[in-house]
Structure formats: structure tokens, C-alpha cells
């Protein structure tokens, strides 16, 4: 009896939080499928210059609006450009926009949230009010307004999306810090005389990190749709460079003559976004300490 009870409470071989999360993530087939989708498109985007595909901007008046064929697997667009090669090059714009804009949101939003939650007082009051105000504006409307006033280009679209997504990270980080701040181990660290910076770095940041990672992954999905939306409206990637959103913008005008122009870019966005959503949901489950 004693031996059994002992065995039950004997600590399992030490498993770091990262390993534990990866073990749970690996067991989640949907999340793994999402990861495969992301890796596939990332490789496609990186390998675009190496692949034996046509120049995405080369026009050819002899093959205008051709349906899919052996020479042009996905068909051609209204000025004879190869859709497959535009789709592959366009993945660069979409993935870059998704990742860069979320990076902007995280790099600015997380430190602000840390300061706001950790120090409290009037600075927290001020930051919280501003964050609330920005959260009161629908994400896409803010992004459209910012992109409009900054001027239409892919990099401005990234900035606009990043800034619009930032308040979510400020609020999330702040809430997380508030939850951790009063824990005994933080009190303990303070009582042995550790400085604020050290406490933030060693005790608060690691606890804040997992929910931010989950949110960031899900926000990449939103940001990719936002970039496509802005490009669809003409506020993102400018012609002739391809992006999935701007391809759809053109395709909309040829719906009855060349429906294939509209099908592929949208399907690509759909797939990538599903990928990021699946991985985000999977990370959320894997990093949840309440579940084994």
C-alpha cells in the first residue's frame, strides 16, 4: 500500500513545458494538418524564385483568359499572365503580410501591455482607455482608414493591419500580467530584492508568453484575410505585383468570362487561413495547463 501510494506521487521524469506542449500538439491531428498546410505554402513562397515557372508579370496577348490547360495549369488572366506562377508568387505577399503585421502588433503591443499591467496607476489607466477606444473601432475599418491615409502599398497595408491588431495584444498581455503579478512567487522574488526588470523578465514574461503565442497564430489568420481584403479593395499590393487579394480584385470583373481567375486565389487564402486557425486552436489546447 505504502509502496503503491509512493509510486503514485513519485515525480514523472521531468518534462519541460515546451516538450509537454509539443507532445500534446503532436497528438492533435487537426493541428498537425494545419501545420502541414502552413509549411507547404511557406516552402512555396520561399522557393518561388527557384521553381521552373513562368515570369508572373510576363504578359502575352496571344493567351488572354485561357482556361486551365497543359501549358498553363491554372489558366491565364486578362492580359495573358500565367495564373499558377502569379499564385505562387502571390503567396509571398500574403504570408509576409500576415507575419509582418502580427510581428508589428506583438512588438509594440506586448511591451505596452507589460508596462500597463505591471506598474498600474495612472499609466495603466491611460493605456487601458486608449486600448478600449481602439478596440471600439472594427478592425477592418481602422485598417482601411489607416491604409487610406498612409497611401496604398503592401508595406502600408502591413503597418495598418499591425496597428489595428495591436490593442488586442495590449489587453491580453495586461490581463495576463495582472493575473500573475499577485502570485506568491512574484512576491517572493520582490522580497529577496530583485529589480522590476528582472521580475518581468524571469517570472512574468514566461507566464505571459503562451496565450500570446496562441493569439498571435490566430491573428496571422485574421491578418492574411485583412491583407487580402485591403488588396481586394486596391489598398494593398499594387499592380503589376501579384497578391491573392489583388488577383481577386481583377477576377471580379471577368466572372462570367473567366471564372477560373477567381477560384484559385480565394481557395489559396481559404487554405492558408484554415492552416493558421487549426494550428492556433491546437496550440491553445496544447498550452492549456489545466488539461493533461
Amino acid at each position: 500500500m505504502t509502496i503503491l501510494a509512493h509510486a503514485a506521487i513519485a515525480p514523472a521524469p521531468e518534462e519541460t513545458p515546451g516538450r509537454r506542449a509539443w507532445r500534446k500538439f503532436k497528438a492533435n491531428r487537426a493541428a498537425l494538418a494545419g501545420l502541414c498546410i502552413i509549411v507547404f505554402f511557406a516552402l512555396l513562397a520561399l522557393a518561388a524564385p527557384l521553381l521552373p515557372i513562368l515570369d508572373p508579370n510576363a504578359t502575352s496577348w496571344s493567351v488572354i483568359r485561357q482556361p486551365p490547360s497543359a501549358a498553363h495549369w491554372l489558366g491565364t488572366d486578362e492580359i495573358g499572365r500565367d495564373l499558377l506562377s502569379r499564385l505562387i508568387w502571390g503567396s509571398q505577399a500574403s504570408l509576409a503580410a500576415g507575419i509582418v503585421s502580427v510581428a508589428i502588433a506583438v512588438v509594440i503591443g506586448v511591451p505596452i501591455g507589460l508596462v500597463s499591467g505591471y506598474f498600474g496607476g495612472w499609466i495603466d489607466m491611460l493605456i487601458s482607455r486608449v486600448t478600449e477606444a481602439f478596440l471600439a473601432m472594427p478592425f477592418l475599418i481602422t485598417a482601411i482608414a489607416l491604409a487610406a491615409f498612409l497611401g496604398p502599398s503592401l508595406s502600408n497595408a502591413m503597418i495598418a493591419i499591425g496597428l489595428s491588431a495591436m490593442p488586442i495584444f495590449v489587453r491580453l498581455t495586461r490581463g495576463q500580467v495582472l493575473a500573475v503579478k499577485t502570485e506568491d512567487y512574484v512576491e517572493g522574488a520582490r522580497s529577496i530584492g530583485l529589480g522590476n526588470l528582472m521580475i518581468l523578465k524571469r517570472y512574468i514574461a514566461p507566464n505571459v508568453f503562451p496565450p500570446i503565442l496562441v493569439q498571435a497564430t490566430l491573428t496571422v489568420a485574421t491578418a492574411i484575410i485583412a491583407e487580402a481584403s485591403l488588396s481586394f479593395l486596391g489598398l494593398g499590393q499594387q499592380p503589376p505585383d501579384p497578391s491573392w487579394g489583388s488577383m481577386l480584385n481583377v477576377a471580379k470583373n471577368f466572372m462570367s468570362q473567366a471564372p477560373w481567375m477567381a477560384i484559385w486565389p480565394g481557395a489559396a487564402i481559404f487554405l492558408v487561413v484554415i492552416g493558421f486557425n487549426l494550428v492556433g486552436d491546437g496550440l491553445g489546447d496544447a498550452l492549456d495547463p489545466r488539461e493533461p
Binding site: 477606444a133 473601432m137 466572372m255 471564372p259 484554415i274 486557425n277
Partner: protein, 315 residues
């Protein structure tokens, strides 16, 4: 109750002020000097000076903001550079179109999302549940405007069942109006329906584990009564407030939907304004959506209190 509403209204004031500051600062982001653009080719110094005076650009920025805010509070959002119409008038003209679209989308989302969520929760871990989750995931991941394009292709171009675009005011010709709006409203509703489904599901799963549900089952009520009478009443509470909150997202989603279906609403207004560099209109639309969003927030909070007897007692 009234004090609660009053308190919530007061809290909204600083938020609104910050938003107004942001909207005002937007025009300072503009590259180049707008007055030079307005003055035209000749760049007549007299005209430029006159315009600067007219737009109060010689005053310090703080004064410019206060003047602008004063105008806004009096309902003057400026004049459209393109049509010379007051922005307020333009917005009021387009708003009913978008509200009709948003309300119809909300109805779709509730009719699809909530029953799907209930079924998924009751039939947890069955094929039906997985299917509902898969559809919800797709609804969240599909770019709205692309879904619109695909539906137009299928329903309008190939099947010829519904018109691909156009708009008829509801009160002038209700049937025709519904016919043109049904597809855009469905498209607009998809992410919302997906979110409602997910929240209904998790909320119902939480409620169905509660003690009073076990009690209800123990006294021999049919499963149907237990779910519909006991589960739903509590499970739907958070979902109702969520719906009010998501109404603001509908306004944003309408921008793209209106663009795809060429519906002359709010969203088309802001996009056209962006391309005509009609910045007063852009500012006006942003300000209006933010105000609408804050109002919906307030309504969500009040609904929550009204529907939740436990909260009512604390007031």
C-alpha cells in the same frame, strides 16, 4: 438600473474622445499639403492663404482639434470634396441600406449558428458535432468577398436564380429588396454564424454539466424539455450578449460585401471615398462605426443584466 446605464454612458465618454482624437489625427497623416492640392495648378498665394484661414490651418493643432470636435458634436462632419454634400447627409442616406444588410445577416447568423451549436453540444463527439465544427472553422476561415464571388458565379451566373447585384429600398419594394439582399446577407453572416455556433456549443456544454440539469433529468423530464427549458435559458445568455457585440463587426464586414455585390451602402461609401481622396467622408464613416459599436456594447451590457436575474439583484 438607471444608475447602471448612466454609469456605463459616462464611461463611454473618454473612449469616444480618444476615438475622435484618432480620427482627427488621421488627416495629419496625409502625405503632402492638402491645401496645395486644393489650390490647383496655379497655386495662387492669395487663394492658398484664404484656404488656410478657412480650414483654420494657421491655428495651433489643439485649437484645430477643438474646432473640429465642436463641429462634430453639432452634427457637422464636414463636406464631401467630391459631391459637395454634407458628410452627415451622405451617411444618413447610406446607413439604412447597410442596416438592412446587417440586420438580415444577423438573423441568418442566429438562425444558423445557435441551432447548430445546440445540436453540436447535445450530440457531442458524434459525426454531427464534427461536421458542425468543420463548417464553423470554414466559415471563420473563408474570405468573405471570395465566398460572395463564388456564390455569384454559382447562383447568378450558372443557375440564374438570384440577381448578382443591385439594390432596392425595402419599403419601396420589399420582395425585390429581399431577393437582392438575401445572398449578400448570407455571405456577411458566415463568420458570425460560425462564432455563434462555437460559443453556443461551449456554453451549452458548460451548462449541461450543471447540477440543476441533473436534477431535471432525475425528476424524469424528457431530454428535449431538459435541453430546451433548462439548458437553453442559461446557455444562451452569453450568446445573446455576444450577438450584440458582433453587430459592430457586421458593419466592418459590410464594406467588402457591399463592394462585391455593388450595394450602395455605408461600406461602398467609405471605399469610394478612399479612392476619391474624400477624407472627410472617410473620417465620418470611421467615427460613425465607432459610435455605433460603442452603442452596441452598451446594449450588450444592458441586455446581459436584464436577462440575468442574478445580475439584476446586484444593482
Amino acid at each position: 438600473m438607471y444608475t447602471y446605464v448612466a454609469k456605463r454612458l459616462l464611461i463611454a465618454i473618454p473612449t469616444l474622445l480618444i476615438i475622435s482624437l484618432f480620427v482627427f489625427m488621421l488627416q495629419k497623416l496625409l502625405p503632402g499639403d492638402p491645401i496645395l492640392a486644393m489650390a490647383g495648378e496655379e497655386r495662387d498665394p492669395v487663394l492658398i492663404a484664404q484656404l488656410r484661414e478657412q480650414y483654420r490651418l494657421n491655428d495651433p493643432v489643439v485649437y484645430q482639434y477643438l474646432y473640429w470636435l465642436g463641429d462634430v458634436l453639432r452634427g457637422d462632419l464636414g463636406t464631401s470634396l467630391r459631391t459637395n454634400q454634407p458628410v452627415t447627409e451622405l451617411i444618413l442616406q447610406k446607413l439604412p441600406v447597410t442596416i438592412q444588410l446587417a440586420v438580415m445577416a444577423m438573423i441568418f447568423a442566429v438562425l444558423i449558428g445557435i441551432p447548430a451549436g445546440i445540436v453540436a453540444a447535445v450530440r457531442k463527439n458524434t459525426l454531427l458535432d464534427y461536421l458542425a465544427n468543420l463548417v464553423a472553422l470554414s466559415g471563420l476561415s473563408i474570405p468573405n468577398f471570395w465566398l460572395g464571388i463564388m456564390l455569384i458565379l454559382l447562383v447568378s451566373v450558372y443557375l440564374g436564380w438570384l440577381p448578382a447585384s443591385g439594390y432596392y429600398p425595402f419599403f419601396a419594394d420589399p420582395l425585390r429588396s429581399l431577393e437582392t439582399m438575401i445572398m449578400p446577407a448570407f455571405v456577411l453572416s458566415t463568420p458570425l454564424a460560425a462564432m455563434l455556433m462555437r460559443h453556443t456549443r461551449s456554453s451549452m456544454l458548460g451548462v449541461m454539466r450543471a447540477d440543476y440539469i441533473r436534477t431535471a433529468r432525475a425528476k424524469g423530464l424528457s431530454e428535449r424539455t431538459v435541453v430546451m427549458e433548462h439548458g437553453l435559458r442559461n446557455g444562451l445568455l452569453p450568446v445573446i450578449t455576444l450577438s450584440a457585440l458582433l453587430f459592430g463587426d457586421l458593419l466592418a464586414g459590410a464594406v467588402l460585401t457591399e463592394q462585391v455585390f455593388t450595394i450602395p451602402g455605408f461600406g461602398k461609401l467609405i471605399v469610394d471615398a478612399v479612392f476619391n481622396r474624400d477624407y472627410a467622408v472617410v473620417q465620418g464613416v470611421v467615427l460613425c462605426t465607432a459610435v455605433a459599436f460603442i452603442l452596441m456594447n452598451l446594449i450588450a451590457d444592458i441586455l446581459y443584466v436584464l436577462l440575468n436575474p442574478r445580475m439584476r439583484a446586484t444593482l
